[in-house]
Symmetry: C2
Subunit: 309 residues, 2 copies
């Protein structure tokens, strides 16, 4: 959590910025002004960033982009970095990427999102976009790890399998046991893929439920308290209660509330409203690290390895 | 002092940003990323800003501009604000001012600087630009208060002047004393105007001396220590010693060194080098307030009022 403020920063809150470590990837969501330095404060190297995703082109969600990209360039980040954003925001993205004089040596690939659907689909995850209810055009994102298989030690022992045979099974090749062929399915159980949902800025809407469905971690805006629900409705934002309801009804396991209006010096006010509706609510605070809940169990046996397929 | 870092922010230093209160005016120099929040931390309202001056279009000197302008717009700042910048930087300024979606209700007047000379010349000061030695095109600025007169109580008493006559003298009208007319000059001494010089980024050059000549306060980059003088020369930056020499040889009264390379965790290293050459060196630190030295005395008598003319 690099920043947690909506619209106006406060003495304790920076503008938005969320960095997700996901295996070898690093996803940076909505870099608001100051993200470059907040990454430094969090101990995240510019080299750790592999994708940057913007929900929309309001300043508190994107004015940190020039600094991040210029810092990546300065540090000679050599790998490709995807930049995902609403296609209608392209003129702004172009300006942000050429906002000041620098020697651009990044390998930044623009991935404009024209409408709902799959944005990127390489391993180790799929990113799906859904259009949210906010102006200008706003997309929420859902990062889905494909389901895999967890190999069970008990089944291997029963069949007398060991050594190279296990590697072959992991690669999807059936192996001979006595007179028959054994496949991966026979020695493993399904390992559900993990899911991260990123929902901001928006009024509560069907798309938000689609994004959050069964998510392991739901990062969601909670700009207003119940007492200011009229403001939330007027500006297409969510209340903390709505975030709690979204998490509960969509079966999300852990909810992180963030993007707080400056009118709430203590965001616990908002979290307590969300907690009436969901048992696992984390209040985003600057430089807080929030773990994704441990993977849902696929089988009760002790696993020896996991594969994706 | 809102930010003191060159190129790369550090855990203790933000990117540049300098706010000068000058009578009813507020001059914001080189707003780097994060200036919007640093103004908040310093207790400076967006309404206090009357002029924004950019020396050049490197990111550490301008990426905070969108946030500042958007914040001014959000707070409905009603007065005109001048934006002064090198004319060659206009394409970047245009992008910075339209970097993200917002409802622009500022009254921002662009003042592109085409070459050395007077940039703005209204009361209460004149702003002069000089081209510095740095790429891209860079201007340093000198803010000059015009000289005025300080009326002396002793002379008024000698002539028996009081009440409305003093007001007339202040407005430049001669007043009758017995059989002759007395002018402002006869009852006053010159009050030197105060001068602020802002010199960054640059190699030490003649223009820097012109800007700093007799300045009451000289804010100057001191990116490198003597040991790294080769780097300073390579990248057209100054060492702290050069800043000290500039202040000493130009007769500047107080030197503020800033714009420190990340390689110096403790900028006192740099200040100590400058102090070998000038007696009044202030090390810029985040949120430090630096007073302009008291006005040079124009006369020894107790003054009753001051006028500019």
């Amino acid at each position: 959590m690099l920043g947690t403020a909506s619209q106006t920063p406060t003495r304790s809150r920076h503008h938005n910025g969320y960095f997700v470590r996901w295996d070898t990837e690093g996803l940076l969501f909505d870099p608001g002004e100051g993200t470059q330095r907040q990454l430094l404060m969090a101990g995240v190297s510019p080299w750790a960033i592999t994708r940057i995703l913007l929900t929309h082109l309001h300043g508190d969600h994107c004015l940190g982009l020039p600094g991040v990209v210029q810092r990546m360039s300065l540090e000679r980040v050599a790998h490709q970095v995807d930049l995902v954003f609403p296609r209608s925001g392209l003129p702004f993205v172009d300006r942000l990427l050429h906002a000041s004089v620098f020697d651009d040596c990044t390998d930044l690939v623009r991935r404009p999102v024209a409408g709902p659907g799959t944005v990127v689909d390489p391993p180790p995850f799929t990113i799906v976009a859904r259009r949210l209810e906010h102006r200008p055009e706003t997309f929420g994102y859902r990062v889905e790890e494909p389901a895999g298989r967890t190999i069970l030690r008990r089944r291997l022992d029963e069949l007398g399998l060991e050594g190279p045979a296990i590697g072959e099974l992991q690669r999807g090749t059936a192996v001979r046991v006595g007179t028959r062929m054994v496949s991966l399915d026979e020695v493993s159980v399904e390992r559900p893929g993990q899911v991260l949902a990123f929902v901001m800025d928006t009024a509560l809407c069907d798309a938000a439920f689609e994004l959050a469905a069964g998510a392991d971690l739901l990062v969601c805006e909670a700009t207003f308290a119940d007492a200011d629900a009229a403001l939330a409705a007027e500006f297409n934002h969510m209340t903390a209660s709505q975030a709690g309801r979204l998490a509960a009804e969509s079966g999300a396991r852990r909810l992180v509330v963030t993007h707080f209006s400056q009118r709430y010096p203590d965001p616990e006010v908002l979290a307590s409203e969300a907690r009436l509706l969901h048992p696992d609510v984390v209040v985003a605070r600057e430089l807080l690290r929030v773990p994704v809940p441990p993977r849902r169990a696929g089988g009760r046996d002790r696993a020896v390895g996991a594969v994706q397929r």
